[in-house]
C-alpha cells in the first residue's frame, strides 16, 4: 500500500496486470485533447521526466512539435530500467500496462507520430508479458501503431541515444550528438524517447488536467512519483509518494527501520550518497535534493546499514558501472576501469599509496568527457561515496581496517 495512489490506484499489486476492461472502467477512455492544448497542459503541470535526467516533459514534447526535424515523428516508451536496484518501471509496466500504453498513444497523437516503440527490458519478464498481452487487448487501430521491442541487458541500454541506436540497428551503444534525437532519431525521424512512468503520468494529466496534477506535492516540484526503497526497512520495494515527502516519512511508510542506517544512496547507481543524518529530513523532490547537493535521479532510495561497508558497496557499484561502459569513449573505457581498480583495492585492504588521490582526481577527469553521461554518473557516485565514507576510505587504505566491521577476508554488504 502506497502513501499516495494515482499511478498505482486500482487493483492490488499482486503480480497480475490490470486488464483493459478494468482500466477503462476505472479511468475511462483516453480523451482526445488537441495537440497545442496537451503540450500546454504538460508545461502548466510542470512535470519533470522520471527516467533519471529530470528534463521537463512539456518542453521535450514541444521541441518535437515545433522542431526542424523532418519526417513523421516516432515515440519510444522507455522501459529498459537497467538500474539494478530500481524496480519502479518494471512494477508499473507489470501491473498498469494500459496506463503506460495510454501515455505512449497520447504522445503519438499529440506529436502526429505513426509509430510507437515499447522498449521494455528483456530481463523484466513480467513487464514484457504484461505489455505484450496489453497490446493484444487493444483495438486494431492502436495495435497498428504499437511495436514491442525487448531491450537488451546493459546499464547504458536505456540511455536515449542507445535506445534509438538499438531500435534502428540492434546496437544498444550510445551515439554521438548532434544530431539530437528530437530532430533525427528512429529511422532518422524526430523521436520522443520518454520514460514509461512519465508517459503514464501524462495519460493522467490528459484526463484530469494540470491543476489536478499540481494538487499533490509538498514543495516546488509537483505531482506524485514512483520510488524504490531498499535497505534495512520492513517492506522494501516500490511506493508512490507525493514529491517532497521527507525520507523519514518514506521509511515510515515502508514499515520502519529494521536496522541502523549510516548512509543513503539517492537517485540510482549514477546518484549521490549522503550521511543518513544529512538526508533524513530532506524532501524527496528534485529541487530540494539539488539544493542539498543530491539528485532525485530514477527515484532509488538505498539505505546502507551501519554494519555494512560503504567503501566496499561503492567500489562494487564502481565495478558494475565500469563493466557497463559501452567502451566507446576513452575516458569512460579506461577511466572507469581505473576507478574500479583503485576503489576495489581500497575496499579489499590492498590500496596503493596513490589510490585515494587518484580516485579523487579521476572522478574529476572523466566527468563531461563522453558521448553520454555514463562517466559523469559513475564519477558522481564515487565522489560522493568518498566524501560520505571519508573516514572509512582512509582507514581501509592506511590501517587495513574497516570502521563498519568488514574484514580483510572480504567486505560486508
Amino acid at each position: 500500500m502506497s502513501p499516495t495512489e494515482r499511478l498505482l490506484a486500482g487493483p492490488p499489486l499482486d503480480g497480475r496486470a490490470e486488464p483493459l476492461a478494468s482500466h477503462r472502467a476505472r479511468l475511462g477512455e483516453l480523451p482526445v485533447v488537441p495537440a497545442a492544448e496537451m503540450i500546454a497542459a504538460l508545461e502548466a503541470a510542470g512535470m519533470l521526466g522520471r527516467g533519471g535526467a529530470g528534463f521537463p516533459v512539456g518542453r521535450k514534447w514541444r521541441a518535437i512539435a515545433e522542431g526542424s526535424g523532418r519526417g513523421t515523428p516516432v515515440v519510444v516508451a522507455n522501459g529498459a530500467e537497467g538500474e539494478p536496484e530500481s524496480a519502479k518501471d518494471r512494477v508499473l509496466m507489470a501491473h498498469r500496462p494500459h496506463l503506460v500504453i495510454d501515455g505512449a498513444l497520447l504522445a503519438a497523437r499529440t506529436l502526429g507520430a505513426d509509430r510507437v516503440e515499447l522498449y521494455v527490458g528483456r530481463e523484466h519478464s513480467a513487464a514484457v508479458q504484461a505489455v505484450r498481452a496489453a497490446v493484444e487487448e487493444r483495438p486494431a487501430a492502436d495495435r497498428a501503431l504499437l511495436h514491442l521491442v525487448e531491450a537488451p541487458l546493459g546499464y547504458v541500454a536505456g540511455e536515449a541515444t542507445a535506445v534509438v541506436h538499438y531500435v534502428n540497428a540492434k546496437d544498444a551503444r550510445p551515439l554521438a550528438t548532434p544530431p539530437r534525437m528530437s530532430e533525427r532519431g528512429v529511422r532518422n525521424r524526430p523521436t520522443l524517447v520518454q520514460n514509461v512512468e512519465s508517459l503514464a503520468q501524462a495519460a493522467l494529466i490528459a484526463r484530469n488536467g494540470p491543476d489536478w496534477f499540481r494538487e499533490r506535492g509538498r514543495g516546488a516540484d509537483r505531482g506524485t512519483a514512483l520510488v524504490t526503497i531498499a535497505g534495512p526497512v520492513r517492506h522494501e520495494g516500490v511506493a508512490e509518494i507525493d514529491l517532497g515527502t521527507p525520507l523519514a516519512e518514506l521509511v515510515e511508510f515502508a514499515g520502519g527501520l529494521t536496522g541502523t542506517p549510516q548512509a543513503v544512496l539517492i537517485g540510482g547507481y549514477f546518484g549521490t550518497w549522503a550521511r543518513i543524518e544529512d538526508a533524513w529530513d530532506v524532501p524527496l523532490e528534485p529541487e530540494s535534493l539539488k539544493a542539498a547537493g543530491l539528485a532525485f535521479g530514477c527515484g532509488l532510495v538505498r539505505l546502507l546499514d551501519a554494519r555494512a561497508c560503504g567503501v566496499d558497496y561503492s567500489a562494487r557499484i564502481m565495478g558494475f558501472l565500469a563493466a557497463g561502459s559501452a567502451m566507446q569513449c576513452g575516458p569512460c573505457k579506461y577511466g572507469l576501469a581505473d576507478l574500479a581498480g583503485a576503489s576495489g583495492r581500497v575496499a579489499a585492504f590492498g590500496a596503493k599509496a596513490t589510490d585515494l588521490i587518484d580516485i579523487d582526481r579521476w572522478t574529476g577527469l572523466v566527468t563531461g568527457r563522453g558521448a553520454c553521461r555514463h562517466p559523469d554518473g559513475a564519477a558522481q557516485q564515487m565522489g560522493t561515496a568518498m566524501a560520505v565514507f571519508e573516514d572509512d576510505f582512509a582507514s581501509h587504505a592506511a590501517r587495513g581496517r574497516c570502521l563498519a566491521g568488514g574484514t580483510r577476508t572480504g567486505g560486508r554488504r
Binding site: P174, L175, A176, Q328, C329, G330, P331, C332, Y334, G335, D338, W362, L365, R369, G370, A371
Partner: protein, 83 residues
Amino acid sequence: MSREPRLTIDWIACNGYGVCEAAAPDLIVLDDWGYPILPDGPIPPDLAPQARRAVNDCPMLALAWEGDGAPGGGRLGRLGGRR
C-alpha cells in the same frame, strides 16, 4: 551572428593518438589515458593557429572547430588536395 571559436570533440571517434597535443601544445594536454583535455573556454586569438593545426591533423576527424574562423578549406579540402 558571430560565435566565439571553440574546440569540440567526438569522443566516440577519438582514439587517443595524441596528434592534437603535438599540434597544439599550448592548448591541449593529454590525460592519464592519452585522451585530450580541451580548454574550457573559447580559443584565444593567439592560439588559433595551433587550434587549426590540431583540427586539421586529427587522424580520426574527431576534433572540430565550432564558431567563427573555422580552418580554411575544412577537412575535405585538406583530404582532397593539398597532399
